[in-house]
């Protein structure tokens, strides 16, 4: 199972805890994880990436294994620890706003 940790607003919106677990077929990428996340939680569509272009929203970041993966291609394989479920993919709201 792939583990995804969501920021607080999205936990409230999806009515879930800090972490959700998802079945994701290989290859495990940001896009395939988000596809599975949005399929399971349709209310999250558009809140992490654009509904039309699927581009990451400006103030969202993807971290895993102490690395910032936000600028990596969304179809690049995620670290093996994420694919194995030993480490979560962190969906993080960037520092912004007041």
């Amino acid at each position: 199972m792939i583990r995804v940790e969501l920021p607080p607003h999205l936990r409230t919106l999806a009515k879930v805890g800090a972490e959700v677990q998802l079945e994701v077929a290989a290859p495990v990428t940001v896009n395939s994880v988000l596809d599975a996340l949005e399929a399971g939680y349709p209310m999250l569509r558009g809140t992490i990436r654009d509904r039309g272009t699927l581009k990451r929203r400006d103030f969202m970041r993807f971290f895993a294994c102490q690395r910032d993966l936000s600028l990596e291609p969304a179809d690049a394989p995620l670290p093996e620890a994420v694919a194995k479920g030993t480490e979560p993919l962190l969906v993080v709201g960037a520092i912004a706003g007041g």
Binding site: P7, P8, H9, L10, T12, L13, P42, M43, R45, G46, T47, I48, D50, R51, G52, R57, D58, F59, M60, G93, A94, A96, G97
Partner: protein
């Protein structure tokens, strides 16, 4: 006994204020959607239990919430606002072409006749419609693709479609207003549109009487007299008596005719309310005094309403969607401030009371009169 429900959209959530028909004792419910910006929330005139809410943040974009039980419970509905066809460009601040990009919903206008039909005014300016209670949205693209659309330019707040009015007597007639493009009317249910800006005079654009470019902040009308429309423009309070074909100024004796909100008394189409704001450079009320101005003559002659409102050291603004009226026998008037206060009057503005004092900055106020 009748009841009143006030929907207050703020920078950090939705608050629902309720009272019985006397409107003396108020309860504050919320925040709903805490931490999110609520640009607008509005109930359906056809089913007051049905409420639509525009919820957004810079992080997560647009979410649309719907309640079927008067705000007790909520469900998300579709948030896909896709422009029809290949969106072309409008004019950017520097005069260059800029692609149309959806940013947020500024205003929901539930249909007068059907709770599942709602119009949405969005930034970048376009009009969308749902006929299935928000499960899907389709653009009424005749407005955005109007022959002037490529020349529309955003105001400081963005290129937003913020006002939508459905004519109660003529279901085919719609009015919309866009900052900073102007005002528009459709007589065929939103398929085609015409500019209704003749008579507007805006010194902040190169040609003050141009067809477009006027920063219309808000328009309002009384359902029984839909050809008479009032407008609070960037500067100037205006009136038309032929559905926008020709406007004339009715600012009269207002201390300043800059402002954002405007509304019409529920039972008297000639009684109008505005909150004058110092200037386009100073977005707060004049002289530290929070004053609503009422005209009982359809404009020109205005009276300051101050009883119960702060008359010193007050420097708040009242935004375009932050005033509303109820439909009780003695018309109630409500408005919210950027300082987080919500004021209400149960006697058509003669006296005021703070219904809430310390909410987040108020973006919108709507009222439902419940039986």
């Amino acid at each position: 006994m009748a009841r009143v429900r006030v929907l207050v959209g703020t920078r950090k959530g939705l608050f629902i204020l309720t009272a019985d028909g006397k409107r003396q004792n108020w309860k504050i419910h919320g925040p709903h959607f805490a931490g999110w910006e609520i640009y607008h929330a509005k109930g359906s005139p056809a089913d007051p239990n049905r409420i639509y809410v525009s919820q957004s943040t810079g992080w997560h974009g647009q979410v649309v919430q719907r309640s079927n039980d008067g705000g007790k419970t909520w469900e998300t509905v579709d948030n896909k606002f896709a422009y029809d066809g290949v969106p072309e460009t409008h004019q950017w601040y520097d005069g260059t072409p800029h692609p149309w990009e959806f940013k947020r919903v500024w205003h929901f206008e539930p249909s007068l006749r059907d709770p599942d039909t709602v119009y949405a005014g969005v930034e970048d300016a376009a009009l969308f419609k749902t006929t299935d209670g928000g499960k899907s949205w389709a653009e009424l693209s005749g407005l955005r693709t109007h022959r002037t659309g490529s020349q529309w330019t955003p105001g400081a707040g963005g290129l937003c479609l913020h006002t939508i009015i459905e004519d109660q007597q003529n279901p085919k007639r719609l009015f919309t207003a866009i900052s900073a493009a102007g005002a528009f009317r459709s007589d065929d249910g939103g398929k085609t549109w015409k500019t209704i800006t003749k008579g507007l005079n805006s010194k902040y654009i190169p040609d003050p009487t141009a067809e477009i470019g006027h920063c219309v902040h808000r328009i309002a009308l009384h359902p029984s007299k839909p050809d008479t429309v009032f407008m609070q423009k960037h500067w100037d309070v205006m009136r038309t008596d032929n559905a926008g074909d020709q406007w004339h100024e009715v600012s009269g004796n207002l201390p300043t005719d800059f402002g954002f909100c405007i509304d019409v008394h529920a039972h008297d189409p000639e009684t109008v309310y505005v909150v004058p704001i110092t200037s386009d450079q100073q977005h707060f009320v004049m002289d530290g005094k929070l004053r609503v101005y009422r005209s009982k003559t359809g404009g020109n002659e205005w009276q300051a309403l101050t009883k119960g409102l702060p008359q010193k050291d007050c420097y708040v603004d009242v935004l375009r969607d932050a005033m509303a009226v109820d439909k009780l026998d003695k018309c109630g008037v409500y408005f919210g401030t950027t300082g987080g206060q919500v004021y209400g009057s149960a006697d058509a503005g003669n006296t005021w009371k703070a219904l809430a004092m310390n909410l987040p900055s108020v973006l919108s106020v709507e009222v439902q009169t419940l039986k």
